[in-house]
Every structure is written in C-alpha cells, then in structure tokens.
C-alpha cells in the first residue's frame, strides 16, 4: 500500500511514547522529536549538566569498503585520510573542483579497509563518480544503522555502567567497539554539542535494547531524552554549523555567491593542503589560502544592554525566542551591510544572545563592533554586537 508518511527511526516506539508536546521535526525524510517537553529548558540543561540522549538515526551513513577505500576518501575529503589509524574519527568537509563545500560529516576508520562516512545529504552519486576505476564498494546504511548521540558531563559515568568494556580510555575523536545489553555497538567520542559526549552506533534491530539499557543506567545521573531543538541551541554555543542553514551545498546553490569554501566557514584546520597527491578542490583551496578569504564565519555576541535600550524605547523588555532562530539577519557596520547571521540563539548558559555570522573582510576580525538586526515590536532595529572567537562555550572536560 502506498504510504506517504515520513519514515520513523528505530527508536520511534520509545521516543513517541515520551514526546509530550507532539513536537516532531522532519530530518532527511524521517520524523524525529523536536522537543520531549513543552519547554526546552530541561532538555538543554541535560546537555550541559547531566546526560542527554538524542536520536540521530536520520544521519545519512555510508560504509566504504575495499582496497581503495582510504584512497577514495583521501581524494574526496580535505583530510589526510591515509594518516588515520583504525579507531580514529575525523570531522571533514568535501568540496567540488572550485573548492566550495558540498557537505560535511565524520569519517570513521572502522577497520584498515572499512570506513563509515556520515553526511547531511545524499552523496552516493558524488562518491561513486569519484570512485571510478577504484577497488571499493560504497553502501548506504542509513536505515540499517541506528545512532544515538549521548551528550553531557555525566555520559561517561553512565556508559561505564552499561558497556562491556569501560570507555574511560576512549579519547576525543576516537571510537571503540563495545557491547551494551548484549548488543554490538561502536562508540565514538564525538557529538554536535561541544560538551563531553559520545555517539553510539548499532544495528537497527538492537536499537530499543540499547535505549532501554542507557535509560535505566542513567536514571541516577539525570539522563534525559533530548530533541533536536535543544541540540540546535547547544551546537550554536559550540560554534558548529549546519548544512542548508548556515551554508548552502554547491549542489543546491543557484548562484555563485551562495557557495562557501571550508576556509570561509572556519574549517582551516580540516584542510590538509600538505597531504600528498590530488584531492577534489585542491588547486582552488591552495589559491584561496594564498590570497585570503573574502568571507569568514564568526561568532557574534549581541550586547544585551544595547538590546534593552532598543526594546525599552517601546516600553518592552527584550524579547527573543527561547530557541535557535534559523533566519538570515543582516549585520551592519555604519549604514553598510557587511554580512549576515545565519543562526542565532539565546544561550541559557552564557545569558547572552549569540549568533553564527558570515562577515566580509575585514570585519570578521575578533573584537570588531558591528550591529545585528533584531525586530522590536514589528520594526527592524540593529542591536550592537561584537565579533568573538568561536566556540562561544568550551568546557574543559570536552576533550579530557
């Protein structure tokens, strides 16, 4: 029978029972929980103070296997894949020939000749095109592999209660195979929140088993199912961007100026220009490195006192939404627009209104005073803001 519903994830039986406000979001063709509670506070703070359990199964996943698996990823991505050890995870973007980003995700070296690549959008065609003549198989496993992002300062303690082997030694951006409640899992020390955190990958059929074990073990440590809206606030604090929100894939861009290079998004550290051999976009990226980037993604901290003044003029206290705002907001210097913010959010932790913004040279230098658009009682105003270093928040335990 024809079914036009969105797909559900392997955790749906649990997540749907817990989702009080029926706040569902669409993510790559799946339903996922936007928020489990009517107010985001507790979910947000679970990420920052205890243990947040987030269903991230809709992430698009590929297994890339074969003699030339490393060579393919070395060619497609900007990282030096040949240097990666088994058990290592690398965050990377991948570009077109002009050095503009197609997508970004993580590469995990599961075995010498087996990698897992995550992506926000389907990339099978691009990967296949680049694999011509190579001894490699590329399989999309999105539906087969369930994934949980487990984020927050108490996650290590909870994992240690349920995993067969302790995770204490698992370093930042490394992964290990393990067992939870009898199910085989891989656990990577990764996430999208900038806090201590892990991502747990498992066969879809084991999803509920793993969920239940974590929820039980975590009950004394403040474990909380968390939807993607709270995660969206945390990722802005962590200075992490999102495809189709903070940048446009070259495959979707209508015009040249919609495209972004890794340098323009602050991904300099992921572009291994010193790696041997050809990779897609190399020449363009080398040129941009030499000449400097015209744009840069930076952090903006909006001056609250300045906002209060603007709202005060109409007799109101400052009013901004309590969740992340995915709207383009012009950024000004004087009367000239020098860029735009792509995601902005109230940071409950920093008690500051923050934004990821794309600014033109030379306004992207840290410390530059700019103004960002806010809406005050239906009127567009510009609140004073300062360019700050990303991430906005980085706890010492993130990498420890």
């Amino acid at each position: 029978m024809l079914n036009l519903n969105l797909k559900t994830t392997p955790f749906h039986e649990r997540t749907s029972a817990l989702c009080q406000p029926q706040n569902w979001r669409k993510w790559a063709g799946y339903f996922v929980v936007g928020s489990y509670e009517h107010v985001l506070d507790r979910e947000y703070w679970a990420i920052r103070n205890s243990a947040a359990l987030i269903d991230v199964s809709p992430l698009i996943k590929y297994v890339i296997q074969g003699k030339d698996a490393a060579a393919l990823l070395h060619r497609v991505t900007t990282r030096d894949i040949h240097k990666m050890k088994v058990g290592q995870v690398a965050y990377t973007g991948w570009c077109d020939e002009e050095g503009k980003l197609i997508d970004d995700g993580t590469v995990s070296r599961l075995e010498e000749r087996t990698f897992r690549l995550t992506a926000a959008e389907p990339n099978l065609r691009w990967l296949t095109m680049n694999a011509v003549g190579m001894d490699v198989s590329i399989t999309e496993v999105t539906d087969d592999v369930a994934a949980l992002s487990f984020q927050g300062p108490n996650t290590r303690k909870v994992l240690n209660k349920v995993t067969e082997k302790p995770v204490d030694e698992l370093k930042y951006f490394r992964l290990m195979t393990n067992k939870i409640n009898g199910a085989d899992v891989t656990i990577s020390r990764t996430g999208y929140t900038g806090d201590l955190g892990y991502e747990i990958w498992m066969d879809a059929k084991d999803a509920l088993k793993v969920w239940d074990a974590l929820m039980e073990a975590g009950s004394d440590y403040g474990i909380t199912p968390v939807g993607i809206l709270a995660m969206d606030m945390a990722r802005v604090e962590a200075g992490l961007f999102m495809l189709e929100v903070d940048y446009t894939s070259t495959t979707h861009a209508w015009i040249e100026s919609q495209k972004s290079s890794p340098f323009e998004l602050g991904l300099d550290w992921t572009v291994a220009l010193d790696k041997p051999g050809y990779f897609v976009g190399r020449r363009a990226l080398e040129k941009e490195k030499r000449e400097g980037s015209a744009w840069k993604m930076v952090g903006l901290a909006v001056d609250w006192v300045g906002m209060e003044k603007l709202f005060g003029k109409v007799g109101l206290p400052p009013q901004i939404p309590g969740s992340a705002i995915r709207a383009s907001l012009p950024v000004m210097v004087g009367n000239v627009q020098v860029g735009y913010a792509s995601t902005s959010t109230w940071s409950p932790l920093l008690k500051t209104y923050i934004a990821l913004a794309h600014l033109q040279k030379p306004y992207y230098e840290v410390g530059t005073d700019v103004r960002m658009e806010i809406t005050v009682e239906h009127h567009r105003q510009h609140a004073p803001a300062k360019v700050v270093k990303l991430p906005f928040y980085e706890p010492e335990w993130k990498k420890k």
């Binding site: 703070w45 007799g315 206290p317 309590g322 008690k351």
Partner: protein, 533 residues
Amino acid sequence: MTSSNTYDAIIIGGGHNGLVAGAYLARAGKKVVVLERRHIAGGAAVTEEIFPGYKFTEFSYVVSLLRPEIIRDLELPKHGLKILPLPSTFTPMENGDYLASWDDHDLTRRELYRHSPKDAEAYDEYARVMARAAKAIKPIINLIPPDPSSMSIRDLMGLLKVGQYAAGLSEKELYMVAKLATQSSADLLEEWFETDALKGTKAASGIIGTFLGPRSPGTAYVLLHHYMGEIDGAFRAWGFAKNGSGGVSGAIYNATQALGVEVRVNASVQQVKVKGGRAVGVILENGDELDSKVVMSAADPKRTFLQFVEQKHLPDDFVTSIQNFRTRGSSGKVNIALSKLPNFTALPYTGNGANSVLHRGAVSISPSIDYIERAYDDAKYGQISKRPYIDMIFPSMIDPDMAPPGHHVMSCFVQYAPYDLEGGWTDGRRDELGEAVIATIEQYAPNIRECIVGMQVISPKDIERIAGITGGNIFHGELLLHQIFFLRPTPQWADFRTPLKGYYFGASGAHPGGGVMGAPGMLAAKEILKDGF
C-alpha cells in the same frame, strides 16, 4: 606597615555581594582585598558536605534574581556558573489532592481548571496585571536610590526619573501599585482567587524573610517583588545553581581570582580604622592592620555600623535608625540526606522515583492562607510554628552531582522559626524545629522518616552564629515597605555611601535587598568608582 597590607579597597565580608563588589573594583584596575571571617568564602551562599557524599546549600537555596549583567560582566559561566531550571511547584493538599504549577502556561491553566474554572481564568489576568505593575516599577530597582529630601542635582535627577516611571503608568496600574504597597497578600489574593492551595502558595512568597503573616499589610508588595524576576521570561536567572548557592559564590570567587582580587579567609575584622573623619583601613581580630583608600562592608547593617565603627564617628540619628532597622530572623532551614525519595500520597512515584516530575520542582507546604497565618500566630508569641510553611526542593533531582548515585538531598526552607524564641534556642529547641518539619511532611509523604540518613537543622541563631548575619534574617533586614528603596538601610543613606567618608555599604541590607542577587555589591562598587579614589 608593609606595602603588602596596603590596598585601594578593603571589602569586609566574603559573601556573594562582597565578592561581586571586589570583582567589579578589580576589573576597574583597583588593588582589592576581601576579608572573610569564616574558613570559606561565600557567606550565606555556600555549599558544604555536611554528611559525606551529600552536598547542601546550608542557608540559601534558590537563585532568584542574580543579575544577568553580573553573569556577563564577570564571565561567570566560564568560571563554572550554571543555573538549572526548577520547572514546577507542587502543593499537596489536606484532602489528599494536590495543586501543581508547571513551566508551561497551558498545563498550569489546565491544572488550575481542575480546581476552579474561575481561578484558571483569573490567573491569566492576575499574572498580566502583576507583570505590568512589576514592569512599571522595575526600572526603579536599577536606579541608585535618590534621597527625596536632598536638593542635590543627582538626587533631583533621580527623583525625576522615578516620577517619570510613575507618570508612565496607566491609572489602573497606578491603583494596582498603590494597592500592592499597602495591602496584605491575603487581601490581594482573596480578591482574585477561591482555591485555598493556590492562595496559600502565592501568599507564602509574600512572607518569606519577613516577620509577618499573610494577613499583615505590606506583604502584597513582596509578591510583586517576585514578579520582577519573571519579567524577562526565559532570560531570567531563576532556578537552582549547579552545586547549590555555593556554585554561585564559587563562580564569583573564581572570577575574583582571575581578576587578581586577594581573598583572605579566617580574617575577622575587629574595627574600621578612622583618621581625620575618613575610613582608612581595618584592624583584624588577630591584630593585623590593613590600610586602604576606601572600605566597603558587605556585612549586615548592624555589624557594619554598630560593631565595625566606633559610634563617635557616626551621627546619633543615623545610629538610632540602624538600631531600629528590623532584622528579625523568622525562618530556619532543615537539610536532609535521603537514601530514597519521600513518596507523596497525592502523586506517588513508581520505581526509584527518578522520573518523578514533582521532585524536580519545588514542593510547597502551604495548603491555605489560614494554615500560614496560624503558623505565624505561633511565632508572634515566640514559638516555633507547630505546622510551619515549608518550601522544599530536592537539589539532587536537578543536579545529580549533589548526592551519591541513587541517593538524594532535600532542602527545606521553614518559616516560622523566630529568632527571639521564648526561652531561647537550645539544642532541644532546634530538634523541636526539625521534628515539626518532619511531622508536617509526614502528613503528605508518610515514608519520609525511613528515607532519612542524616539531618541538619539550622535556626536563625545558627544563621547568625555561622554566617554572621545579625538576627539571622536571610535578607539582612526584612523586606518591609519602610525598609526598601530610599529607606534601605536608612533614609538619606541608601546610595551605598555612609556618614563616614570612605566607608561604603554594599550588602543585602542595602538597596535593592536580599536574595542571591549580587545587585547591592555591584551597585556599591559602581558608586565607589564614581566617587573616584
């Protein structure tokens, strides 16, 4: 005198206000020392492990109005500050039912509707009216109180501003403000609502820290005070700090360290040194002498003016009004270590209770206005309330790190426990207070006694003895109409200056008042800097 004992500013008292003031002065490039009498800084905002593994905020418990600008200016999140949400209030009722208020407006209205459809509707309007009244007078809190009898330009400008805000109110709002300033909270609430548990719980917030009952005039204003914190909606800093109130002073302490403030503990001040009519330093109880250009006290008004300074340096009428400043402690605190959560019969939990929604928020024993007024009746005549008002929270349900895994801590704010107890406070009387609390809770959660693994009872006398607050009043002086704004601590001296030149006052007993707010410390530091030194 060694130069190491010479400072730009000396701050007496290492509570959160003293630390905030120190940080702001150091931020302006001043060499500052904060002197704390106890072995730890934090004052009444400290967290201690009374029983191994169980952490307690001994005296205070929630962060109500900690100023967001202090959080940003001093970068407190980088220094560890996290203010966690306290999403609900649960009031068990004497008939076995309960009344809850949630962080979601619709849920709260639905819950109220269950008790009274009329109250559910009135609630929205009440909230709007109170929020408007609070908004109308909130800017006043941010002002340095002007002296209405003074003819100085600064005071006149200040008065003009207050006048402007008052003039900006609609007639309706003006009446509301006037009513709020004079009414009792019982009268106000009875105009709006019929549900006893709702009125009792609302009225309770009008008596906290005062020696008044819900039927005493002036208590309605304190209700308004609470709405101030709610105006900024999601942007407020209300809740439970990670690691308790000690987490707040801890973060402020870390900020002072990053700014180069010297914080000396076990440094009890004996006297402020005065030379040529000016405060020029302090003498410690151990005999050490410290010199400085200015001295600020973050202690309570009585210690600040009656103990640290010789009376001959202060005008008689000033001394008299400080003597008359009301600092009657009326509340105590019972801190309990639990092996499991007490189970409330009105809404029992299953399993280990980790998912119990009510335990994540406050539990208020305030079934009616009469209940609280009766509790006050006992206290009026020098007795501990037989059935006290109790505001309970379970910090370990909000921040799991407060207790060993699976175990919990419980914090009970108790009123009334009069400072001037008939016959005086003894160990036996303290136990009596603890027993009154447990017996009261037992009515609603019968298994409470079997959950207890440790209990600490704090009387107002203990607050005075340990935290050094005269009278044991949690606000360093009651939030009464005659003790706020330009009258706090005394008329003419509400701008953080004192009759003694170079001597400043920036603590809860100063404008805008108590609570873990930090505003007096910040505002005082700004005034000190304005005077230049």
